[in-house]
Each structure stands twice: as structure tokens, then as C-alpha cells.
Symmetry: C2
Subunit: 302 residues, 2 copies
């Protein structure tokens, strides 16, 4: 069961860090950028950057999140680099989260679910488009836009993270609106997530249907942890966006479990701040982040 | 200005139809499907299907909506067919809507905006990833997730359609929730859309920031038409999903303007119901839809 596998990795490494491969071409060292003129050039170099980085972090970090926007902007060649990055990370034993925030009505949602979590039928062959362990989704279309993903979670032992309380400032414009019954939208959305996960609860008590809960909103995170006991959190916003270990502490239970904490720029661009090669600086940043988080969260797993 | 251009086409053809190129491989005639075993095979045939279909409708229909999920599920090869479909439709003079329902926090949203509406910088070259006239977006992350798209609308003369009231049944679980001030979420989201569009209002009085409003919800559509005077609608749900001309009438004003009406399966698969070649049946279905809509909407444009 995928969330059990993710938690096993967190306990083994005592590290709930998720490395965000939001690999903007600008993040690459100058010598890797020089002379590139086409999307194919960019895609090749971004992939090389990702692979070396993965090699240097895969023994100390249990998961990566690959943000698809940073590949889609390089066209078809970028999408090939995305696919290759997913495959390489999986081959290195990492739990792979496709951060794609997909959403649509039922029939179309089932195509997205097949693309990321399942298989696409081509006559009598079943092929995989963008194979991932989890995909992030947006719940604004309600249950019939989410259940096709849950179906693939059950069938293929995969997971999703539904946007609940996002890390950005304006998320509050929608997510903190109070409903007539006094409940804010994010908590109501969280309640739906808990329900969507009911059929997929694993050994640690968490389901395959997780929630995105920003590190930048400690009050909301504490409330969500309280009312969503079976929901595992994907926690963005640590580092560059202003979230810190103390702020996200409430996402975790007494057993030191409850979520993975994403960091993208703080790891990919660590070399720009701290010097050294990008991959050794990234490894150092992961080690520092592990220390920072475990000092606050404590021992992970009983 | 892109919405003016779209409306010019609607008035000229007296047709607010948008053909939805949700080209599932299963929709192709058997002889086009036979022998395909790879994503490349599928992509090639889907693209051929789309091109011939576009050739047969581009003189009577002003716009197409290309649903990306149906290409993404065929992997990188599918994304190439998506790109080629966008390009071919634009070359034939159609207004092209990328139905991708993208959404993320500001820095990532700006990558999506560049991918679909703008340009991606590769050293000193500016390249286009998936060039479209409009892209659909999801507003659950609030203003800072939408404004990067609006920025590209202004800069590149492009547009977006924000999900407001979707055509599927469960959309109501979120969108019809009543806020503390008595306003349902869809109307509140609509108000944000009207505001996001303020800087891009064209000659017809509609902005470049439109709203997705399902044909299946006439009451909500009537209310939204009333409170969003400058917001152009993308109206899905006609045909296979149960919406009809009478139900979507309230999306249009007294001048017969106000939105484009999407139909996917009803056009792509018309040959399965009515016989003939897929492209002649698709053309006939477009003509029938034009008649059906104009009988209810009346003359388009003053």
C-alpha cells in the first residue's frame, strides 16, 4: 500500500523530506546552460541535472515531487524529460509524486488518472503514459472528478493528494471562506478528502487519498490534523516560501508521522547560496533539512 | 483583442459552436485503429483524424477546444499530437482553446501561463511550448494563482476561462455551497472572475477572462449572466452530458452574444449514430447544432 511504503521510507531514513524537482532551466549552473538554443537542448540538460541530483539524494530522502509546469513550459521535449525523470526516480527507489494538480469531470478525470496512475489501453496492449506513485489533484469539481483517481488508487496501489489549504497567500480568498454552517471551505474540502480515502486505509492508519496543506498556515494545519486523522499531508511552503519547521509541526502526530515536507528551490539552488557543486550542495541541504525537521518533529514512527 | 476576435467569428458564422477535440482513440473508425500497438501509432492516427475533421468544419465553426487529458494519456507522443493539433487548428483560422484546467501558486502558475499563452525563454531565444488562444484554469488557489495568466493575456493578447460552475453533477458539492453572506461559491468565484477581467475588456464589452458555466445548470447560468456582465462564457455540457439549447439560452444576452457552446462526443462520434464518414457526419452535426442553437438564441450580434 503506497502510503505505507512512503511512511516506511520516512521511518527508515528518519526523514519526511520530499525533494521538489521544479527544475527551471535558470536553476542550472552556467556551464550546463551555455549554448542551449532549443527545447530539446534544455530538456536534455534538465534531465541530466535531475539524474545527478537524484543519485546524490536517493539514499537519504524517501520521495521526490516533480512539478510538471516546469517541464510543460519546454514543450514536447520538456514532457519527455518529465517522463524520464519520473522513471529514473522510481528506478532509484524513490516514491514519486507527480505534481500536476489535475482536475476535470468524470470521463476526463479518468483519462488523467490513467495517464499518471494507471494504464492506457491501445487495442490489446496496456501502456503507461507518465507513471507516478501519487498525483496531486484539485477538488473544485467534487466527487465525480475525484473518484476516477481513487479507482486507480485502489486498482494500481497508487495515491493522490487533493488541494486543501495551499501555501500561497491568496489561497485564503477561496479556501478560508466561511460556509453557512460556520466551517471554512478548506476544512469542508478536508472532510471530503477524509471520506474519499475511506476505502484505502493502510497499516499506519493513513489512506491513499492525502491532502496538500501548506507549511505557511500553522493554525489551519493544526485544525486539519485534528479533524482528518486518516489523511496524510503533502506539505509545501517550507523554505523559499517562508514556512519553517516550527510552523509545520502541527501537521505531525505524537508518533512523528503525518506528512511529507516538500522543498524545491532550497535544495535545487542550494549551490547558489552555499557554493560547491549543485549536487553536493543539494545533498547538504537535504541533511540540514532532515536535522531541522527531526529536531522539531522528534522520532518518526513508534 | 482575443474575445473580440472570437465574437467576430461567432457573428460572421452565426454560430457559437466550439468543437471539442476530446479525441479518444476509441472514437476513431475501426480502419484507423487497426494495427496500432504504440503511443506513437495512436498519436499519429489521432492527429490525422483531427486534421481531416478540422478541414471539414473550419469554415462553419469559429473555435475548437482541445482537451489535453485525451492526449496526455498517450504519453509524450500524445503531447506531440496535442501540439500539432493546436498548430493545425490555428493555421486554419480557428480560435483555439487549450482545455487544461491548470492551477498552481504564483511562480508555478506563471510557467503554465508561459507554456500555453506566452513564451519560454531559452537563453536569448523566446520559444512557444503549447501555443493557444485561451487556456482553461481552476481558481481554487485564488488571485495569485490567476494573475500570472492575466499578465500573459495582456501581454500576448490571449484569454483564459476560469472554472465557475462546471457541467458535472458533483460540482455542486463545492460550487453550490452557500457562504456566510448567503452567496453560493460559484457566484463568489464568478465575482472574482469579473474582477480579474477588468483590465482586458474589448469592444463587445467582454473581457479576456471568461468563465466555464455548464449548459446543464440553467438556474445558475441565468444568475451568472446577470451578475457578470463583462464575462464571456465557455459552456460545456451540451449533447452527451444532457444540456440542450433551451437550458443554455440564459447564458446569452439580448444581442445573442455571451458565450461559446462546446460539443465533443456529439460531433466526433456523429458518424457512429448517423453513418457516413466521420468528417462528413461531424460537419452535419455542426450544421445541426448551429440550427438548434440559433433557433433559441436568435441573431448573434446587433
Amino acid at each position: 500500500m503506497i502510503t505505507d511504503k512512503l511512511i516506511d521510507g520516512i521511518i527508515q531514513m528518519q526523514n519526511p523530506t520530499c525533494v521538489g524537482l521544479d527544475t527551471l532551466f535558470d536553476y542550472l549552473p552556467d556551464d550546463m546552460k551555455a549554448g542551449a538554443t532549443t527545447f530539446e537542448d534544455v530538456a536534455e540538460r534538465v534531465l541530466a541535472f535531475n539524474k545527478t541530483l537524484i543519485d546524490h539524494i536517493c539514499d537519504i530522502v524517501p520521495s521526490v515531487k516533480v512539478q510538471i509546469a516546469y517541464y510543460e513550459m519546454y514543450g514536447v521535449a520538456g514532457m519527455k524529460a518529465y517522463y524520464e525523470t519520473l522513471k529514473y526516480a522510481a528506478a532509484k527507489g524513490l516514491v514519486v509524486i507527480a505534481d500536476a494538480k489535475r482536475n476535470d469531470i468524470g470521463s476526463t478525470a479518468s483519462c488523467y488518472a490513467k495517464a499518471f496512475l494507471g494504464e492506457t489501453q491501445v487495442n490489446d496492449r496496456a501502456l503507461k503514459a507518465f507513471p507516478s506513485d501519487y498525483v496531486t489533484v484539485n477538488g473544485y469539481l467534487g466527487s465525480d472528478g475525484i473518484l476516477p483517481f481513487v479507482e486507480q488508487c485502489e486498482k494500481q496501489d497508487k495515491g493522490i493528494f487533493v488541494l486543501v489549504k495551499t501555501s500561497n497567500p491568496s489561497g485564503a480568498e477561496i479556501q478560508n471562506m466561511i460556509l453557512q454552517n460556520g466551517v471554512p471551505m478548506y476544512e469542508y474540502m478536508g472532510g471530503l478528502v477524509e471520506k474519499w480515502g475511506e476505502s484505502t486505509i493502510g497499516n499506519y492508519g493513513y489512506s491513499a487519498v492525502g491532502a496538500v496543506v501548506g507549511a505557511t498556515h500553522p493554525t489551519e494545519a493544526a485544525r486539519l490534523r485534528e479533524v482528518l486523522p486518516h489523511t496524510f499531508f503533502l506539505i509545501p511552503g517550507y523554505g523559499a516560501q517562508g514556512g519553517n519547521a516550527e510552523m509545520l509541526k502541527s501537521c505531525f502526530g505524537g508518533d512523528g508521522l503525518g506528512g511529507v515536507v516538500n522543498n524545491s528551490r532550497g535544495i535545487l539552488c542550494a549551490y547558489k547560496k552555499n557554493g560547491g557543486t549543485y549536487y553536493s550542495a543539494a545533498r547538504e541541504a537535504c541533511i540540514a533539512m532532515q536535522k531541522d525537521l527531526s529536531a522539531v518533529i522528534g522520532k518518526m514512527g513508534r
